[in-house]
């Protein structure tokens, strides 16, 4: 977690020419923001449960289409990246693999991609 207080958000996601650690942190922050937004959306969708079986079943029916399924796969990738990179950050805080943090970033990215593909086959 960065404690730098630059007073500006300019450049947070300007990753051009930056080292892998910077890109990893920018992605961690971006995926975190996406997941908070998704959490509110998830609460919204689950509110249909309060309106009874017809409302919930109708909502599920509405969401059973390829566009939503592709978005769900994107969500799975975002969750996997945030979780696996979180583990990477935790290991670094424990002084484990600090010198190999760049390689660990690429492993995190690759593992997120591979596990998303596994989830995609499970969803078929």
């Amino acid at each position: 977690m960065s404690n730098s207080r630059t007073g500006s958000t300019k450049g947070w996601f300007d990753v051009k020419g930056k080292h892998a650690g910077y890109v990893a942190f920018a992605l961690h922050r971006a995926t975190g923001i996406l997941l908070v937004l998704y959490l509110f959306l998830h609460f919204g969708v689950l509110t249909s449960l309060l309106a009874g079986p017809e409302a919930y079943n109708g909502m599920i029916h509405l969401m059973s289409n390829p566009v939503v399924e592709i978005l769900e796969l994107g969500l799975i990738f975002v969750i996997l990246y945030h979780g696996l990179n979180g583990i990477r950050l935790g290991l670094m805080a424990l002084n484990i693999g600090v010198r190999r943090h760049e390689a660990m970033f690429w492993i995190v990215l690759a593992a997120s991609g591979i596990l998303t593909a596994v989830a995609a086959t499970a969803m078929l």
């Binding site: 977690m1 960065s2 404690n3 730098s4 207080r5 630059t6 007073g7 500006s8 958000t9 922050r29 975190g32 923001i33 997941l35 908070v36 959490l39 609460f43 689950l46 509110t47 449960l49 309060l50 009874g52 079986p53 919930y56 079943n57 599920i60 059973s64 799975i76 969750i79 979780g83 979180g86 583990i87 950050l89 935790g90 805080a93 989830a119 499970a122």
Partner: protein, 113 residues
């Protein structure tokens, strides 16, 4: 906020993050991949009537709400907000977090009533 508090905030965020790797993994597997997912209201109610699943969901709810809102605070701190604004922010996020948790528990209670 003092450095000591920031360190505890970081440790709490790391600890809930680690818990979430387990709880969110179980939540996704149990709710969305077992038996093709919870695709009907009746399936959701049957699923939650298992006390172990209900315990998992309540634990997941509390942990994910805490981690998400603490993450929002961490990002806002990086924008360099002043200390008194941070104190207000923590109070607001605490209220939002408690309301979100209670709302989730209320949904579970209504489904099982």
């Amino acid at each position: 906020m003092s450095n000591e508090n920031e360190t505890s905030a970081w440790i709490l965020q790391a600890a809930t993050g680690f818990l979430l790797v387990i709880l969110l993994g179980l939540h996704i597997l149990a709710n969305h991949f077992s038996k093709g997912g919870l695709l009907s209201y009746d399936q959701v109610v049957r699923h939650l009537s298992n006390p172990l699943i209900l315990l998992l969901e309540v634990a997941f709810l509390g942990t994910v709400v805490f981690h998400a809102l603490a993450g929002v605070r961490a990002i806002l701190l990086d924008t360099g907000i002043p200390r008194d604004a941070d104190e207000k922010l923590v109070k607001i996020l605490a209220v939002v977090g408690v309301l979100m948790f209670l709302y989730g528990v209320w949904i579970f209670a209504r489904l099982l009533a």
